[in-house]
Structure formats: structure tokens, C-alpha cells
């Protein structure tokens, strides 16, 4: 006859105790509430954001009294009127939107082949190299990278020095719109590759082989097999890149030479230079609105891509 201890090991006893404790804390008839409980962190997070937005919304309806530097007690739409009518904000908004779209397009064009080679290569060494090259920039902050470009692209930077060796006079490569877009593309590329790579991994190599065996050349296979199947990855990457570019602050500030502001720079100016929190809040809300509309448009046209976590394929 086995001893009771052998028949009922101590680990089981512990599990029984834990189960009894769990049943006390969370009775079985509460089971239906589990999914809601798991939603709680998300609700809390979104709730805090909504509370913040309500506060910003309230501030946006108040104007600054420059004799006391206090916001008005009364609500008014004056800040919105300024935001919609002053040419400065239209110029900055147009620059930001156009910049975000250009950066997204260029980034996806560069990210796709990088991700494709990284996923499909048969060389483990090359894959490791590409992975290291992909993750290395994440260890260097955006501001540091922007300052790196100042050193490389400055009038006395490496590029101009190299050009000087072949007799080309130093040229201004920095402090203009292309410089800002260049910095943003370089910053966004790793994000895009990370979003595209899983989508490419999910495409069986056999599909490409099958297309080839049916007579499709590489180009046709790419356009009719790979690209459509990679669309969720491209959409997800596009969403991330377009929103991050639209709201970027550091690249326009550092590489723009002060004359290539994006919306985030204009918001900073209102909060911290003119102390006009009302107008700053208005611009911030409008940025949220424009970003949301853009994302909504992409959702409508292309779906949510990999951000839908596979729902799009069902």
C-alpha cells in the first residue's frame, strides 16, 4: 500500500491550495467577466488618453490674455479660427502631411527589398548581418542620429570633403526640406522593415516556385504573388511610418535649420515660446484629428494590415 504522501504529492496539495484560493478570490460564476478583466488595462490606458484629450479640448477653447498670461474663463472658438485662417499653420500642416506621405512611400520602397532579402536569404551570416544592421539604430536615439547627419552632411562634413576630393565645391546639404525627409526615412526604415518582414515570412516560398514553374518570370511573380500577399505588412508599416512622420519633432527641428517646421514644432512653439497653451492645445487636437483621419482612410482603402493581427485574412 502506498503511503498517503506518495499517493498525493505535495505539489498537488499546493496546486489544490492555490485553486482553493483562486476560487475564493475569483468564484467560478465570475468566469464570464474574465475577458472584461483582461480588457481593463486597455480601457484604463484609453481612458487616461481620453481624459487628457478632454482636458486639451477644454484648453483649446480658451484664449490667452497677454495682460495676465492666464487663459480666459469663457469658451471661444477663436483659437480654431486662428488655426484655420493663419497662413503659417496651413503651410506647416501642408508641409507635414506631404512630408509624411513622401517619407512613407520612400521608406516602403527601401524597406521591402531589405526585408525580402533578410527573410529569403539562404545565408545565415547575411541574415545576421541584416538583423544587426536593423536593430543597431534602435540603440541610438533619434536626436543623436540627427546630429550624426549634421556631422556627415555639414559644409565641412564627410560628404562635402569627399566631393572636394573630386573638385566639387562644398554645397549646402542640410537645413532644407529634403534633408528633413532624408533624416525621417533613415529613422523610419527599421520600423518599416520590422513590420514588413513577418508578412513576407508568412508567404510560403513554394508559391513563388509554383509561379515560376508555371512560366511566370521574377517580375510577374513579384507583382502577382509576392506583393499582394505582402500587402498586410506594407499596410501596417505604412500606418506606423505615416503617423510617426506626421507627428515628428526632432528631425525638422535639427535638420530643418528652423525654416522647415512640422506641426509638432508649431505646437511646441505655442506651448513653450509664446506661452499660448490654448492655441497649442488647438493645434494638438487638430494634429490628432488629421492623423486619425489619415489612418481611417488607410484602414478604409487597404485594411489594417498586420495591425489587424490576422483578422483581415479570415
Amino acid at each position: 500500500m502506498q503511503s498517503a504522501r506518495t499517493a498525493y504529492p505535495v505539489t498537488w496539495r499546493i496546486m489544490d491550495a492555490l485553486e482553493a484560493f483562486a476560487a475564493t478570490v475569483w468564484p467560478a460564476n465570475w468566469t464570464r467577466a474574465v475577458p472584461y478583466l483582461m480588457l481593463a488595462p486597455a480601457v484604463l490606458l484609453v481612458g487616461l488618453l481620453v481624459l487628457g484629450l478632454i482636458q486639451i479640448g477644454d484648453t483649446s477653447l480658451r484664449t490667452l490674455d497677454t495682460s495676465t498670461f492666464l487663459l480666459s474663463e469663457e469658451y471661444t472658438l477663436a483659437n480654431y479660427q486662428r488655426a484655420f485662417t493663419e497662413p503659417l499653420f496651413a503651410a506647416v500642416a501642408a508641409r507635414s502631411l506631404l512630408g509624411a506621405l513622401i517619407v512613407t512611400a520612400i521608406t516602403l520602397v527601401f524597406a521591402f527589398p531589405y526585408a525580402y532579402v533578410m527573410v529569403r536569404t539562404s545565408s545565415p551570416a547575411l541574415r545576421k548581418f541584416l538583423l544587426i544592421a536593423l536593430f543597431l539604430p534602435f540603440f541610438i536615439g533619434q536626436v543623436v542620429r540627427a546630429y550624426g547627419w549634421l556631422i556627415i552632411l555639414g559644409n565641412q562634413g564627410m560628404v562635402n570633403e569627399a566631393l572636394g576630393l573630386v573638385g566639387v565645391e562644398p554645397m549646402r546639404l542640410l537645413y532644407n526640406y529634403p534633408a528633413v525627409l532624408f533624416g525621417l526615412v533613415q529613422y523610419m526604415l527599421p520600423f518599416a522593415v520590422l513590420m514588413v518582414a513577418p508578412a513576407l515570412t508568412a508567404i510560403p516560398e513554394e508559391l513563388e516556385a509554383a509561379a515560376g514553374s508555371l512560366g511566370a518570370d521574377w517580375l510577374r511573380t513579384f507583382f502577382h504573388v509576392v506583393l499582394p500577399l505582402a500587402r498586410p505588412g506594407l499596410t501596417g508599416a505604412g500606418l506606423v511610418v505615416v503617423t510617426l512622420s506626421l507627428t515628428d519633432f526632432a528631425m525638422p527641428a535639427i535638420l530643418g535649420g528652423g525654416s522647415q517646421d512640422f506641426i509638432a514644432n508649431a505646437i511646441y512653439d505655442q506651448f513653450f515660446r509664446t506661452s499660448d497653451q490654448g492655441l497649442g492645445a488647438t493645434l494638438a487636437l487638430m494634429l490628432v484629428a488629421v492623423g486619425s483621419l489619415l489612418v481611417g482612410l488607410i484602414f478604409t482603402l487597404f485594411g489594417a494590415g498586420t495591425l489587424a493581427m490576422g483578422r483581415a485574412r479570415e
Binding site: 497677454t66 498670461f69 493663419e86 497662413p87 503651410a91 565641412q156 562644398p170 528652423g258 522647415q260 509664446t274
Partner: protein, 371 residues
């Protein structure tokens, strides 16, 4: 003894040090001329936090004011290098929420400080004893009392690389319109320092400020065509150093610092004039009584001749205490005005006018430069 009585005794470093040597740290207040004050002396805080600008700015403050203050009182001084315009909303929020503010003293531009004074978040400093020994420059224009104490003045000069001006120094702000300087000039990114000389260079009058600034904006439009770089203090030094620019409207201290770093740079006050402005120190409301007391002592000490001499030697700026000796390299320099006639070419507009119109001027300048 009330706080006001205590403050009426001048804080004299030499007397303090003599006393300390004789009787040790406990006799420090005797050295201050306060033999019976020890019992009434407010408790010393562990440290005083002073917001400051970095680089040579904070080094000068440390050498001239903070270190000697610590030596005298035993109170450590910590410098918070948060940008002046970024600490402002934090201080405002703290005061509005009845919290203790994050700093004891704000070293601030007078324009920025005036906003805080108008908002009512500054302590009154009228009872500082050393205010009796300062020039009119210390008094903020257009405000009641001393919500801020101006501690020195500075000039937004036209700094240039002599190599780029082979025919001699520039005489006018209009010289920047020469096509060869396209993309080679720099201004502050909010236009500060440039508006008023631009008003004159654009054919207008200073008397028309703020009513009619159109000549200013016309001239800014012309400058915009030159594709200027727009930045902040550190940018100018970097840009000069890296050969990105040939000329800039900047505070003389930055130009002098660049020169100290070996950059060939000089500066002038052009014929249209140059903006003269001040920086100051102020204390936010909401500090515990004892910390307020010692913060005031810090500012009071910053107004002594000894402190000003060392502090402002480092900055190369004229102070508010009479009898300061200019640094050797700035004797008779237009950026270091000491006599009445030195101010003839300098433009000074009241902080209140600047503050009330800053938002509009900023928007207009930005609209031109971002267009």
C-alpha cells in the same frame, strides 16, 4: 527679528569669511553682521536650485555667485539646466496647483520673466538690501516693485566672420542682403533681437512700435529671400565653427564664446542700432518660508559688486552695480555699454510692450520664415 530686518543687513563675504575663520561655522552669522541672529535664522535648506543656461553661462554663474554663496552659507547650489521656456509652464502649473515649485530661483530673460510676473507667480523682491546699490537697469520697466531683478544687460550684435567681409566690417543690417550671403546668415528662430533693428533698416521708426511694424516685416521678407538659418544660442557657435554661416544676429556673449574657442569672429552694432535687453533673477511663489528666505539671500548676493564682477566677467556683459571693471577684451566695445553715450545706438523697448505683442510678432515672423 523679522525677515525684513534680517535682510536689511548687507551680506558681506569678507566679513563673513573673517568671522568664519575666527569662530568656525557656527559663527557664520556673526560674520554677516548678525551677532544675535542665529536663533532666529530660518532653517537652511539642503540645497538651493537655480535654473540656468548651460555652457559658459552656468560656469560663470557658478564661479561668480553659486560657489561663493555656498562657501558663505554652507547651502549647496544645484543648477537646473532645463530651458527657460520649458521650466516656465512647470512653475506656472506648480503655483496654480499650490505645489512647491521645482526651482528656487529662475535665471530668466526679462521678457520671459515679465510673463511670469504678469501672471502673478513671482515673489516680490523689493526688500533685498542690495537693491539700494544698483543702477536703474536692475528695475524691470513697466512693472510694479521688483517681481524680477535684472542683473545685467546684453546686446544682440551683428556677429560676422572677418574673412567674409574683406572690405571691412559690416556697417548696416542691410549688408546681409548681399547675394553672396544667401544661405550664409543666421537669426534666432523666433526673430528675437532682430525685430527692432529691422524696423529701422526697413525705413520705419522705433516710435511706431508696436502700432506699425510693417517696415520691420518688409525687411524680414527681404532677409527671408537670403534663406537664413534659424536657431538658438548653441546653434550660432556651431554654425560659425563649422563654416555654415558668415554672419548672425546673436547675443554678444555667444560671439565672444565662439571667439574664445578659436573661431575668427568679430561683431559690430550696425548703424540702425542693435537691441539691448536684460536678464534677471526671480523667485516663484509657493516656496516654504525658510527656502524663500535663502533664495532671496542668493539673489541679494548676486547683486554684490564682487559677485557681479566675477559672474559678468565670464559672460562679458555689463552689470547693474556701479564701478564694475569691464573685461580687458571688451573695453570700449559696443556690446559692453557703460556710459550714457554708449547706449545711443542701442534699442531698448519695455518688456511689457514686448510681452504683450510677442505672440503676434512671433506668428508674423514665423509666417514669413516658414512660408
Amino acid at each position: 527679528m523679522t525677515r525684513r530686518d534680517f535682510l536689511s543687513y548687507p551680506l558681506d563675504r569678507r566679513r563673513f569669511l573673517r568671522g568664519t575663520a575666527a569662530t568656525g561655522a557656527a559663527a557664520g552669522l556673526t560674520a554677516l553682521g548678525l551677532p544675535h541672529a542665529l536663533a532666529q535664522e530660518p532653517e537652511k535648506p539642503g540645497e538651493i536650485i537655480v535654473r540656468a543656461w548651460g555652457g559658459s553661462w552656468v560656469e560663470s554663474l557658478e564661479k561668480g555667485v553659486s560657489d561663493p554663496f555656498t562657501e558663505m552659507t554652507g547651502i549647496a547650489v544645484r543648477h537646473d539646466l532645463t530651458e527657460d521656456n520649458e521650466i516656465q509652464p512647470k512653475v506656472w502649473a506648480a503655483v496654480a496647483q499650490n505645489r512647491v515649485p521645482p526651482i528656487h530661483i529662475n535665471w530668466d530673460t526679462t521678457t520671459n520673466a515679465t510673463k511670469s510676473a504678469l501672471r502673478g507667480v513671482t515673489e516680490d523682491l523689493s526688500d533685498l538690501p542690495n537693491l539700494a546699490n544698483v543702477t536703474d537697469l536692475a528695475k524691470p520697466v513697466g512693472l510694479d516693485g521688483y517681481p524680477i531683478v535684472n542683473t545685467y544687460g546684453y546686446v544682440y550684435v551683428l556677429a560676422y566672420r572677418p574673412e567674409a567681409f574683406p572690405d571691412g566690417p559690416p556697417k548696416s543690417w542691410k549688408d546681409l542682403l548681399d547675394p553672396k550671403f544667401k544661405g550664409r546668415i543666421a537669426l534666432y528662430n523666433d526673430g528675437i533681437g532682430f525685430h527692432f533693428p529691422a524696423q529701422v533698416a526697413g525705413g520705419g521708426s522705433l516710435d511706431d512700435i508696436p502700432g506699425n511694424m510693417q517696415p520691420c516685416w518688409d525687411f524680414v521678407e527681404e532677409i527671408k529671400a537670403q534663406e537664413p538659418l534659424l536657431g538658438e544660442d548653441p546653434d550660432f557657435t556651431t554654425w560659425f565653427q563649422n563654416g555654415e554661416i558668415d554672419a548672425a544676429c546673436t547675443i554678444s556673449t555667444n560671439a565672444r564664446e565662439a571667439k574664445k574657442n578659436g573661431i575668427d569672429i568679430a561683431w559690430v552694432v550696425p548703424e540702425e542700432g542693435a537691441k539691448f535687453d536684460t536678464d534677471g533673477l526671480w523667485i516663484p511663489k509657493g516656496l516654504p518660508e525658510n527656502e524663500l528666505y535663502w533664495a532671496k539671500q542668493y539673489i541679494n548676493f548676486a547683486l554684490t559688486k564682487d559677485a557681479q564682477q566675477v559672474w559678468l566677467d565670464g559672460l562679458g556683459l555689463p552689470g547693474v552695480v556701479p564701478g564694475l571693471t569691464p573685461p580687458e577684451d571688451l573695453v570700449d566695445d559696443p556690446s559692453y555699454p557703460t556710459k550714457e553715450e554708449d547706449f545711443a545706438d542701442l534699442i531698448r523697448i519695455s518688456s511689457k510692450v514686448q510681452v504683450e505683442n510677442e505672440s503676434d510678432w512671433f506668428a508674423k515672423f514665423k509666417a514669413i520664415m516658414q512660408g
